[in-house]
């Protein structure tokens, strides 16, 4: 890695840290402006004034706002988001328990997005303006415009009717419910424990939620890949290889693909934000019991500490994902890797 690229990444990291800071500030302000006293929410309508004052004191709610923010930020950095206003347990603990479920779902979704979107985009470019391209265009448009919960419900209904023994709720079947592994990702834990039946069961549970969640991404990645391929196809370097008799399939699948993968990867980073948003709903439909549906619950119940934590953790997800994608693009494109920051 050249120092130019290291510097590029360093700038990105600093930028992302800034994004998280602003996010933290915004969610903090929001949490303090919305009507409703956190202490009152925690204690319920029957609590006495003394109890309320005591809890306010304990939660630091009487401190000046800037100090509260600093405390909140300091806690967040250490992974301490306070206690849930509803359950009374530490928010961080609750989230940590739910995170693997969502992580598994999101990773599976990303893999499906790439695995379907990229090849379909290549095929659409290769047979552009044919009936095949036209059909894909409509399908991708549907994928992008239809909300993912609709797909979730359709898939669930379809499975319930036609695949009667296919699981449509939860992450795994009841018979395995006492199983737990190191990573919390059931597919991987199953493999690690040598329990292929568990991995298979987890995959079956995962298939439909992940598919529902990936629909809009597939459509986008497909369109972007298609247009990137078509644009690069017109370039001189394609002419060069063709003029020397390198077969079209090699030019397409080796040379064009690598160059054209940059744009969809970038899109994937951005798509990540809406992915988390959509996961909130899809998890609910499939009773996934993940971090996202817990976030939704926290919002509904005004569990402000939990809401702040969920937002910040989602933000971290987004930032890390984009950083990884930047590194990946750097690996693909030497111009980025070697660029002299101008």
């Amino acid at each position: 890695m050249t120092s130019g690229f290291a510097e590029f990444l360093l700038r990105r990291i600093v930028g992302f840290a800034g994004v998280l800071l602003v996010l933290a500030l915004m969610i903090f302000i929001l949490a303090r402006v919305v009507p409703g006293d956190p202490a009152r929410i925690a204690l319920g309508p029957t609590a006495s004034a003394e109890q309320l004052a005591e809890l306010r004191e304990e939660m630091g709610l009487d401190d000046p706002l800037p100090l509260q923010f600093v405390n909140f930020l300091g806690g967040a950095i250490r992974g301490d988001f306070g206690n849930s206003l509803i359950s009374g347990r530490p928010v961080a603990e609750e989230i940590a328990g739910l995170l693997p479920a969502t992580l598994e779902l999101v990773l599976a979704t990303l893999i499906i997005m790439l695995a379907l979107g990229l090849p379909l985009g290549i095929l659409a470019a290769r047979y552009r303006n044919s009936w095949f391209d036209a059909v894909l265009r409509i399908v991708s448009l549907a994928g992008v415009t239809m909300p993912s919960f609709l797909f979730a419900i359709l898939l669930q209904l379809g499975a319930a009717y036609y695949l009667t023994d296919w699981p449509i709720l939860g992450r795994m079947s009841r018979e395995f419910s006492d199983f737990s592994g190191a990573t919390g990702l059931l597919i991987i834990d199953g493999l690690l424990a040598g329990r292929l039946d568990i991995t298979l069961d987890a995959l079956r549970h995962l298939a439909f939620p992940a598919l529902a969640l990936s629909m809009s991404g597939i459509g986008q990645i497909m369109r972007i890949t298609r247009s990137a391929m078509i644009e690069h196809q017109r370039r001189d370097h394609v002419q060069t290889l063709r003029s020397f008799g390198v077969p079209g399939r090699i030019v397409t699948f080796r040379y064009l693909l690598k160059l054209s993968a940059i744009a969809p990867l970038t899109i994937m980073g951005l798509e990540f934000a809406s992915l988390i948003g959509n996961a909130f709903v899809v998890e609910m439909v499939f009773s996934w019991g993940g971090f996202a549906s817990a976030g939704l619950e926290a919002v509904m119940q005004k569990d402000l500490n939990a809401v702040m934590a969920v937002v910040l953790v989602s933000g971290c997800f987004f930032v890390v994902a984009n950083l990884l994608i930047d590194i990946l693009i750097g690996l693909i494109d030497p111009r980025l890797r070697m660029k002299e920051a101008r």
């Binding site: 120092s3 002419q239 003029s243 080796r254």
Partner: protein
């Protein structure tokens, strides 16, 4: 028997149900070991002819009649597989643009290996990876790339344009073809690099006993690299004959016009522009421009784009600023327009320092600029009238006088009035540049900065645009700053020239002085590299020693 013979080839393109007849009855012969040039202007069908031979035509092309005989056998009767087997093996092409001919995310070696691997497969040869690398290294040495290993490991962006052009030549030579088709090689490069590349092609053709089809619009290049010439115009061969016959005694008006459009470098035809004795209008004193790239992990990188440049441009003169790409010409122009601020030094116009002017930039009515490529400097979505209305809105002219002024401007640049309603894509390259000139004139400037205004145009069009610029200067009393790398054009068009090298001004004077007795070795090298069309001019060029070349030119072989 000829190596290649094209007989009465008719070819057309069909797009959106419209058929364009691009080649009409084209016949051409290349004997074994012969060097043939195919010349013509943009869109004349030169490249299409070569693509028909190579079998790389786009899908919407169809051959309507004629034959392409390769060693006596008609290629058009052969199967796709048989034609593929010739590609890159029996006949190879040297691609035109070294900057875009490689995929940026693969190494040079990857490109070369894939080409060689598939060529071997098609011709039924067995080869190992080691064996192929060996052959690639040898070919790279042949094109005078001193360190093949490094070149193979490099990504395209890590090599200079000249080096990439050499790799493109190596790509063509790798399978020892019988015919080399060179499509405008080196056109995208600086003149000194182009000169090196053409010499290299010449040497290789002689050494390897190749036949050469040189496709070019540059007659100087033709004189250097061909023995027999075909002149093409609008899809037809209008004239052909041995080099000397075409150059000394052209039979058709078109060929005469084409040759006549080349500005002479030396000899009787050279035009001296009158020198201006007026006081200086624009003065640059010790102007320097540096760019600093800020870094976190290592020291900041400082680029000196322009260093300590002093010059003055007198009223009414055509001041030429010459130099190769990256020499700082355009940076100077931008600074004196006030678009960019000088890091140090003084720029004064009519004795007023630039920073004392409103907004730190030149008044619109003082200086305007015409850019290199009218294809990109005009907004494709706006009509000529809309384009012209922008500067008119700032000119202080009343709205209702605009249309009258537009007509006046179009008349000035020699375009019909009704062109106001046209979009750029409905205009030819020359017409577009005329619109760009009209736009620059709209605010009645006194100084016009012309940044390579004709380098994107064909020579015959260039001649007419230059004529227009000369007329306008007389009519409107304009002063020009003419930026170009085309020294033969500057010899005839400028009243004074200055040569820039890596941000510094190395020589200044009237073209007569500078060309007769260039002082700086770089100037000599630059003049010596210009492809000329007569032996007399070639003989009149200044001499440069290899040591001087080494000192002042960037080698494309390293």
């Amino acid at each position: 028997m000829d190596l290649l013979e094209i007989r009465n080839l008719d070819l057309s393109f069909t797009s959106y149900k419209q058929t364009a007849h691009v080649l009409k009855d084209v016949s051409l012969k290349i004997a074994e070991g012969q060097r043939v040039a195919l010349i013509g202007e943009t869109g004349s069908g030169k490249s299409v002819t070569s693509k028909a031979v190579l079998n790389t035509l786009p899908g919407n092309a169809s051959v309507d009649a004629g034959q392409i005989l390769w060693r006596g056998e008609n290629l058009l009767d052969k199967t796709e597989g048989q034609r593929e087997a010739l590609k890159g093996i029996e006949m190879s092409v040297v691609m035109q643009d070294p900057l875009s001919s490689f995929n940026p995310v693969f190494t040079i070696g990857r490109h070369l290996e894939d080409v060689l691997y598939w060529a071997d497969r098609r011709s039924g040869r067995k080869s190992t990876s080691k064996d192929r690398r060996e052959r690639i290294a040898q070919t790279l040495l042949k094109v005078q790339l001193a360190d093949p290993e490094r070149v193979m490991r490099a990504y395209p962006s890590q090599l200079s344009g000249g080096m990439r052009q050499r790799v493109l030549i190596a790509l063509a030579l790798m399978n020892k073809p019988a015919l080399l088709i060179a499509d405008e090689p080196g056109t995208a490069l600086d003149v000194t690099t182009q000169d090196e590349i053409l010499r290299l092609i010449n040497e290789l053709v002689a050494e390897e006993g190749l036949s050469l089809l040189m496709i070019t619009h540059n007659l100087g290049v033709v004189r250097m690299t061909a023995d027999y010439v075909y002149v093409m115009r609008k899809g037809e061969i209008v004239e052909h004959g041995p080099l000397n016959q075409i150059f000394d005694n052209p039979q058709t008006d078109y060929a005469r016009e084409l040759i006549g459009a080349i500005p002479p470098l030396y000899g009787e035809g050279v035009k001296d522009q009158p020198a201006s004795s007026e006081p200086p209008m624009l003065q640059l004193e010790n102007v320097t421009k540096t760019f600093t790239a800020k870094h976190i992990l290592r020291p900041d990188h400082v680029t000196r784009a322009v260093q300590d440049v002093s010059l003055d441009i007198r009223k009414g003169e055509i001041f030429g600023l010459a130099g190769e790409s990256g020499s700082g010409k355009t940076t100077v122009a931008r600074m004196l327009m006030g678009i960019m601020q000088a890091s140090s030094g003084r720029i004064t116009i009519d004795g007023v320092p630039l920073e004392a002017m409103q907004g730190g930039r030149v008044d619109r009515a003082l200086a305007q600029i015409v850019y290199q490529n009218p294809g990109t400097s005009l907004n494709p979505k706006r009509t000529v009238a809309q384009t012209l209305s922008v500067p008119l809105n700032f000119s202080g002219l009343e709205k209702r006088a605009h249309s009258h002024r537009m007509e006046e401007l179009l008349e000035l640049v020699g375009l019909p009035r009704h062109y106001q309603a046209r979009y750029p894509h409905e205009l030819s390259g020359g017409q577009k540049q005329r619109v760009a000139i009209a736009r620059a004139l709209a605010a009645n400037p006194r100084l016009l900065v012309l940044d390579e205004p004709t380098s994107a145009l064909d020579v015959s069009v260039q001649k007419r645009v230059i004529k227009l610029l000369e007329d306008l200067r007389g009519e409107l009393g304009l002063t020009y700053l003419f930026i170009s790398h085309d020294l033969s054009l500057m010899r005839n068009f400028c009243s004074r020239i200055a040569i820039m090298l890596r941000g510094e001004l190395v020589e200044q004077g009237t073209p007569r002085e500078v060309f007769a007795d260039p002082q700086h070795p770089y100037t000599r090298a630059l003049i010596a590299a210009i492809p000329v069309i007569t032996d007399a001019e070639e003989a009149a060029k200044p001499l440069v020693t290899p040591e001087e070349k080494q000192r002042f030119l960037v080698s494309s072989a390293a």
